[in-house]
Symmetry: D2
Subunit: 309 residues, 4 copies
């Protein structure tokens, strides 16, 4: 008995809408679980900072002009301090609400419906099924949880810099060098976790530093990962590929990273991760878990991805 | 280098705010990962159905009177069908936003600040620090991801019924019987996953059936779990304990399940899980993972908890 | 110098998008102002009740299944009672946010883009310009404020009942009888304010009484008002026309009240007014003012319409 | 019969919570209506621009760091272009939602509960009644509609400049000079409409120009208006008083404009008006109408204030 009976279109994980997450075979999941050696759990998410009557939300890295998360308390301890009555014999409670636009503002996972060209989504699904009611095809509810072997490509670490420069693009040679330096290899279904260090610019230079452009994968870097049948690419930049100072990708359609990975190859993407703690842990292989919220028809979900070392 | 440097109060995982999640020791995490045998991943979440211009949101189980999730598309395939211009050389995109009040409407995890009595939260933290800006103590951002051994207490299965009755309360004997039937035991740090089957009433009888009350743990059942040092209690009902037809707990303050578990013992709670698929899998032990969104000061987070079998 | 310079499409009040509001000529406005005799101001709006952690929002009449208003305080007096610091030398402030879906939940005014048939909005504007970014044609921002002579059609009063029955439909004869009883007449540009008394059922019988259907104008009643060149029709029911118990209009396309008034004749509509206080005032003519928020591309605006007696 | 019967605390217009709006006597309302001579209606509101997947919202003047309005279409013409089915025999509809934080982002009216010092709001109402559920005292629902004689203080016009400089403060002499230049006087209950021209800086210089500080009333200017028993002060700047480049008022508590007007004298305030069109109309006296939404417990309401010339 599954929940889908309730829904008009909420099929969970139809194979032709799951892209490379189909590579997360039972065998791959078992192998991923075996990567757990130390038992240390590292969160790869930035905080969601939504106190709307303060500048707090603006202190978390985000793309310029995007609506920031808003977090509201509908009842809180202040109300009781001011005399609100307890429930029944003395229960007190706090309750809240969140308004969130995941792309560009949070650590999130893209659905396969997030980007396309022409009239078809990934795998030929009609783009016209992505409507105001949500995406009836390739929504984030179709992805399902990601449980896989994670492999860290610590590009900033390889170069010995805190973070790459805005104009840097990461190609196959550098990706290979990361694997060599770590003494590991990439297997089908792995999650490639790419560290540019770019979120550090927000701390060091403020928003203008972060908005000056962004480093990211080159088109060939993206193709190389797709060619290795990765299950997902997860990066600490905002768009997997690089961005110019207008926060746009410079590549043409054929070379756009979202087109290459998400649209053509059905590779799920996770963006705006926080990889500094993971990078300090000295582990290139780990169990990677990211379970997007089951938002029906969602183009993305905020996530709290984890590495279990 | 951690993200906390950005924040004014966003410490992640201060020990005295993490309650029983401190039981998730490295050893326990390693042991939990060893529960993975088949490599099958089961989501324990209900869908988040937020198409606001249709009755879809009302088809997912929820407590009466709570604001349901709202999901909006800020650009979608319909716009392009109607003539919207592509970005640059032909990129098209879908973008969206979610408004969510987790308690009572979604599969979610409670923060330790969610309920208390008097002027102190769990572990003596001052309730007055839970304000409109969010909870500065015991917020969901303090919990961190849950990676633990999960143990299924399939109470409905034990009784051989699709679901318990609204007035049923689950005590220690029945919890023990579940373990015996499954041939397993409960260890410190385990996540106790309790199945009442109650969400099925929404399908069978509609909202009025679901709102007629709810089965749940008895006070002694809750004490028994706390006494076994569980890391978390996760159930498919809405409040861990039972509810009467006014959707309130009948117990006095000393016996209230949230007071016993969340407030006194610091046991995190996850509610409104969907356990039907897990129950059908025939596995009482598994790797349980739930990674709440890092909502600073949040009283809860919607989650997509998973069982890796 | 107008604000439109800022916008890409925010023209305010293009004549062919304003429908019958074009009848609000300077002469008509001057005449309307002369209706002010007593200087009494009566609000015709229901409250917007959005305290989301309480059942308060469910106590205001609304259509079943619609998302109710949510009102959040982002800082409030409770925070200061709990120890929050004042700003500077002692300033304290309260701040808030509102989430609102106007149709079916609030006293609101419909934009001309709210309903249509085929591929064209009112006056031939292409329906495809109503996209996720908002309505580029016939949005509520195009309407402009309504300042007109208001004429009360107190149908419930005429019949001597607190409210009409759900199946009642109001035709030309009854509308004429209201004018006769009040000793007045209808002039081009007037706002026809139609009282059914239906909101009283919420008080008397609760939601189920309100949801049992709704009285409203008959198709001929709508045509009669359109034929008199009214500037707007404003009613205390939810859809100008009547509704059946499934909250749908029973008329065919040719006879649907929104099609007749909004779509064919460009007559703006205001719905879910609270007319009980006005009805008690004994005045059939007054200055009517409703100024919709300038929501660019909005399909409606919550309003607080007023009668100045 | 009034709507208050529904509510637990929604009294409308209790006299001691209405401040100077009590000056809007029937006589004053009748006199205000007589100001209508030309029959021209001018909106004094900026647009609410909330297309969240575009930079449009950032093109409307707002205070830095505030959450901008978000406007979502829950069904629109694009959906039909992409194949969505019509309702019944052919009805099509557009529906939407608005998320708005009025202060600092929209043309809005402040409630008397918006600012205070110590533990009491205006008129001694306890600040502790302003909680997460909304303001039980002095909320915007207590204000009621404003129907009054409006008097334009066109300070920029008097000086012959497009807009004042950020450091300019407007005192009694200049206010008096505005009246003299217009050949009019200020009467009890009038709405003083103060034009600085500052919103033009957004057009001319962009956000940084607007955020460089703001001109406004001096403390003595505020006292002078309060001394004349104005019913409301409405200005095109963001805070009635001036702001420095950190967007804060420089005055001490005794001289703060919100303290003088809102808190001590109960003078309602409206901020962020668009006065350019009105200034061009050459009329210093007019009928002023602003009807705040009846948001129960609200600290403000977005408004579309109008001048009827």
């Amino acid at each position: 008995m599954t929940f889908e009976q309730y829904g008009n279109w909420g099929r969970w994980g139809a194979d032709d809408e799951r892209g490379t997450l189909n590579l997360l075979t039972p065998e791959a999941v078992v192998a991923a679980a075996r990567c757990v050696r130390e038992g240390r759990v590292v969160s790869l998410a930035m905080p969601i900072r939504g106190a709307t009557s303060s500048p707090a939300p603006t202190t978390v890295p985000h793309l310029r002009g995007r609506p920031l998360p808003q977090h509201f308390m509908s009842v809180d301890g202040g109300d009781y301090a001011a005399g609100a009555r307890a429930i029944g014999a003395g229960l007190r409670m706090a309750d809240d609400a969140l308004v969130v636009t995941p792309h560009g503002t949070t650590t999130h996972m893209d659905a396969l419906c997030h980007m396309w060209s022409g009239d078809e989504l990934y795998n030929g699904h009609p783009a016209g099924r992505v409507r105001s009611y949500g995406a009836q095809r390739c929504g984030i509810d179709k992805a399902g949880p990601v449980v896989a072997r994670g492999v860290l490509f610590d590009v900033a670490g390889l170069r010995g810099v805190p973070h790459l420069a805005a104009a840097d693009r990461i190609g196959p040679d550098e990706l290979r060098a990361c694997l060599d330096a770590a003494g590991t290899e990439l297997r089908p279904g792995d999650v490639a976790v790419v560290r540019t260090g770019w979120p550090l610019t927000w701390q060091e230079e403020g928003p203008d530093g972060y908005w000056a452009g962004q480093p990211g994968l080159s088109a060939d870097g993206g193709r190389w990962l797709a060619g290795h049948d990765v299950g997902m690419v997860a990066a600490d930049n905002a768009a997997i590929g690089g961005l110019n100072e207008r926060q746009l990708a410079d590549e043409g359609l054929a070379d756009d990273l979202h087109m290459i990975l998400l649209w053509r190859h059905g590779v799920h993407l996770a963006e705006m991760l926080w990889l500094e703690e993971l990078a300090g842990a000295g582990r290139a292989e780990f169990l990677f878990v990211a379970a997007p919220l089951r938002i029906e028809g969602g183009t993305a979900s905020p996530i709290n991805p984890i590495a279990v070392l």
